[in-house]
Every structure is written in C-alpha cells, then in structure tokens.
C-alpha cells in the first residue's frame, strides 16, 4: 500500500526537478533584471515543440535536443533583452507587464496557428521503460529528464559562484548603482542573464516533452506554475526554485493520484497561499531588511 504512495512521490520529485529548472530561469531573470517574464511558460512550450519537431523529423532524442534548444534560447533571450526589454527595465511595472503578456499572447496564438490545439505526443521508444528499485517502479524518461535538469541547474550555480562574469551578474543584482560606478556593462550583463534564464526554460521544455505532450494551452499554465514555484521557493533564490519545483511536483502527483489529476493545481495554489501566509519571503528567500 505504502509503496504506491512512495512511487507517486518519487515520480513527483523527478517531474518537480524539471519544473524546478524551468522556474530557475524565471527566478534568475527576476532576481537580476527585476523584470518578471510573463511569457516564461510560453517559451517552455516553444521549446517543447522544437524538441517535438527535432524528434519527428530527425529522430533526435529530446534529452539530446535539449542542449541545442537551450543554446538557441540563450541567443534569443540575449537578443530579446538587448533590443526590447532593456528599454523597459526602468519603466513602470505595468508597462513591462503589458510587454511580456503581449509577447505571451503572440507566442500562444502563433503556436495555435502553426500546430493547432491538439496535444502532440512525442512517443519515445523507451517512454514506457522503467527501473525497478526495491518497491519502486521509476519511469526511465523521468529519471533521465530529472538528472539532466539537475545537471543544468548545477552548471548554472557553478557559473554564478565560480566565474567572474557570474559574480558581475550577482553584483548587478546586489547594487545597480555600484555596478555603474565600477563600469560594468549592465545592459550586456542583463542580456546575458535573460539569455541564461531562457536557456533554462529551453532545456526544461526540451526535457518536458518526454513527460508531457506539447500543446499551446500549456503556455499560460506553465507560466503560472513557474510563478507559483518561484514564490514558494523565494523570489530570486536559485536553490529555492529547485526546492519549490520538487514540492509542487510532489503535491501535483499526490493530488492527482489521491483525488483527481484535474484537481492537482488546486493543491499547488493552496501550498502557495500557505507559504504567502506563513513565510511571505518564500522558503529559501531572504527577509527584506
């Protein structure tokens, strides 16, 4: 009996790590550029379709395709920040909101025009393979996707902690006036950050097709999901995004199993409200001084 729950939780943790990677992108962008990417989930869905096409047309495994997709998304993010979002950074928040929500609507409808509203399953040959570990039956695809998500997150952590450019990006988040004083090229660092944030979404979306079917309506759902995760984990906290992702993954899996899959979001939002009431800065967030 308990082994069923253990299986559900394990599955939730693995899915949650991929969610976490997606949310990490949102958190990094907000933490540094102070712009909320309201088109975050929509970008994840573009990545899902990209992985889907690469698989259907060239037989490229999504786990491998996630890498070039992340790279392409980095470039898109860099250019987007340079040509469009940088000029909105110091504008009022409602203008940033409209810019990015507008972008989200354009993406969702473009996807609808191109692919139609139906869900597109990738049908990987090993989609139904699993590992047996004691009482656990774990889907192979989830193990691979979660491992890749953890690897990408770890690489990002290392970049921010160990490299000079990473430190420069943290410096911009820390003190923007200070960054201008020492002559950091803030706009370029912002572009780099937005690129890295989108690379996370690109990788996460690519991995996600192994778990979920691509459909345009997932976009707004994923934006909301990433938001919920980031707020639960703590805005701007990188480890918080992963922790929040795992929590939401587990809560979705349990709710879907015990009650009904259609009710899973209800529990995510209940968790969100609980965190906002009990610990408004998020689980790993820092209190404002």
């Amino acid at each position: 009996m308990w082994s069923i729950y253990l299986n559900v939780v394990t599955q939730g943790v693995l899915t949650g790590l991929v969610y976490g990677l997606m949310a990490l992108g949102l958190s990094v962008i907000f933490g540094v550029v102070r712009v909320v990417n309201f088109a975050h989930g929509e970008f994840a869905v573009i990545a899902m379709y990209a992985a889907f096409i690469l698989f259907k047309a060239y037989g490229l495994d999504p786990l491998i395709a996630a890498a070039p997709i992340a790279l392409a998304f980095f470039a898109v993010g860099f250019v987007l920040q340079m040509v469009l979002i940088n000029s909105f950074v110091s504008r009022p928040e409602h203008e940033q909101f409209i810019l990015l929500v507008g972008l989200a609507i354009i993406i969702t409808n473009a996807l609808l025009m191109i692919f139609g509203p139906d869900a597109q399953p990738t049908n990987l040959p090993y989609a139904f393979d699993s590992y047996l570990v004691g009482p656990l039956i774990i889907d192979k695809v989830r193990v691979y996707a979660a491992t890749a998500a953890v690897a990408v997150s770890a690489a990002l952590f290392a970049f921010f902690r160990r490299t000079r450019t990473g430190a420069a990006i943290r410096a911009c988040a820390d003190n923007l006036i200070g960054a201008a004083v020492v002559g950091l090229n803030v706009k370029r660092l912002y572009a780099l950050t937005f690129g890295l944030g989108l690379a996370c979404v690109g990788a996460a979306g690519g991995l996600m097709v192994t778990i979920a079917d691509a459909t345009p309506s997932l976009g707004p759902a994923y934006t909301l999901l990433a938001f919920t995760i980031v707020i639960i984990g703590g805005l701007g906290s990188m480890s918080g995004a992963l922790v929040g992702g795992v929590l939401i993954g587990v809560s979705e899996a349990l709710a879907g199993f015990v009650i009904a899959p259609s009710m899973k979001s209800m529990f995510s939002f209940a968790l969100l409200i609980a965190v906002l009431v009990l610990r408004p800065q998020g689980l790993m967030g820092k209190k404002k001084a």
Binding site: R170, A179, V182, G183
Partner: protein
C-alpha cells in the same frame, strides 16, 4: 586632463546643473564644495556617464565623453568612489575588488593592482572571503577605494568619502587620497566637509543651486569671507 564646459543637467523638469564649467589639471586635486542638494553628486554622476547632460561638453584628454555610457567612461580611466560607497554587500571582499577590474583596460593589470590595494589596505586582505556587507563603515570605504583602484584609473572622483565615518577614519581616508595624489593620481574631491577639502585641494569650486559661484586655489577660498560665512560658520 578633464575639462567640463557649460554643463546643463535636468531631472524631469528640475534643473540640477546649469552652465557648470570647471577644469582639472593632470596630477592635481580639485575640490567641489557646496551644501546638500547643490548638485555635487549630479555633477559627478554626469561625468561618470550615469546621467545624460542636456547640454555642454565633458572633455577628458580632449575626447568629448558627454552622454557616453558609464562602462565606456570608466574604461577611459575615470574612476569613481561613489557617495554611500556602493559596494556589493552580498559579494565577498575579493569579488568586490575583482568587479573593479572587469574593465578591458584593467584586466591585464589585475594582479599588480591587487597587490597595490593590499599594500594600501592590509585589512582587505584579511577579510578577503568575508561578504562585504559585514565590514564596518570605514572598511567599506577602504573597499570602495580599493575597488576603484582595481580599474587602474588615471582620474578618480571621490564623492563624499567622509560621509558617515568616525572622525579618526575621516583623517585616514583623506590621508589616503593625498597619498594617491602624490603617486600621480588626479583627484576630484566632492565634500560637504568644506574646511577639510579646501585644505587638501590645489583648486576648488563652490557649487550653489547647480551653478559654480566661486572658484580659485583652495587656500584662497579658505580665506574668502563668503566661504567662511556660508560654509565654515565663521
């Protein structure tokens, strides 16, 4: 070395600077004094490329840098020790110093500059791995100066370096500025502490409501009745 001509700066409709002109000779110390809100910080930040002037020119070694972005201005060799120190509180002391040397002009000199900064402020070497936010006010000011020197500047603008520091530490900071100047660094000193900065400066400008109202050698202004009445309470 630096020559500012007829500078006008606006924030929205409010004019922060009107027709400001001043010169800084290579190797000198120029003080800019004035009351709170006179436009001193606006002037520094405009030269540093953090505000865009509406009019006027800023010639640095005969290049007009008015309206250039701050990272390009810094890369020409104009450094700034900003008001309120503006360190990066969650970065370590070491990382803060490295951020000062991110400029293309400074990258190769990083190791040498770091030795120089440690020789000047040994405490920073002891605190290398500590986050900068945990330093005392005086140590943070040393870090701000050290970070600026990491960029290998030819001219440094010090904005209120004595603000919020204990009197003994203020003396340390001013001594450091004098030393750096002796080593050949051109300095612009912006201070509310008029007496101290006029003593230090070869030449000084008095800024009032965004205009230069008086200028001359530091010692001369120190003896000027208007300066004594308005700023020294004599």
């Amino acid at each position: 070395m630096l020559s500012v001509r007829d500078l006008d700066v606006f924030f929205g409709d409010a004019q922060a600077l009107s027709g400001v002109s001043f010169d800084v000779a290579a190797g000198g110390i120029v003080a800019i004094v004035g009351a709170n809100g006179a436009g001193k910080t606006s002037l520094i930040r405009t030269i540093a490329g953090m505000h865009r002037p509406a009019q006027g020119s800023i010639l640095f070694n005969d290049v007009d840098i008015a309206g250039w972005p701050s990272h390009r201005v810094c890369n020409l060799g104009i450094g700034q020790v900003a008001e309120g120190r503006q360190i990066f509180p969650t970065l370590t002391v070491g990382e803060n110093l490295e951020m000062g040397a991110m400029l293309p002009r400074a990258r190769r000199k990083r190791a040498a500059q770091l030795d120089r900064v440690f020789a000047m402020f040994p405490i920073l070497k002891e605190r290398l791995r500590q986050t900068a936010g945990t330093l005392s006010g005086g140590e943070q000011q040393m870090l701000a100066i050290g970070r600026c020197l990491m960029g290998a500047p030819d001219l440094v603008m010090f904005d209120e370096p004595s603000l919020g520091l204990a009197p003994a530490i203020v003396q340390d900071v001013l001594r450091t500025i004098r030393e750096l100047n002796r080593e050949g660094l051109t300095c612009v000193l912006v201070e509310q502490n008029v007496a101290l900065s006029l003593k230090l400066a070869d030449r000084a400008y008095v800024l009032e409501n965004g205009r230069v109202t008086l200028s001359g050698p530091g010692a001369e202004l120190l003896a000027d009745d208007r300066v004594r009445q308005a700023y020294l309470g004599m």
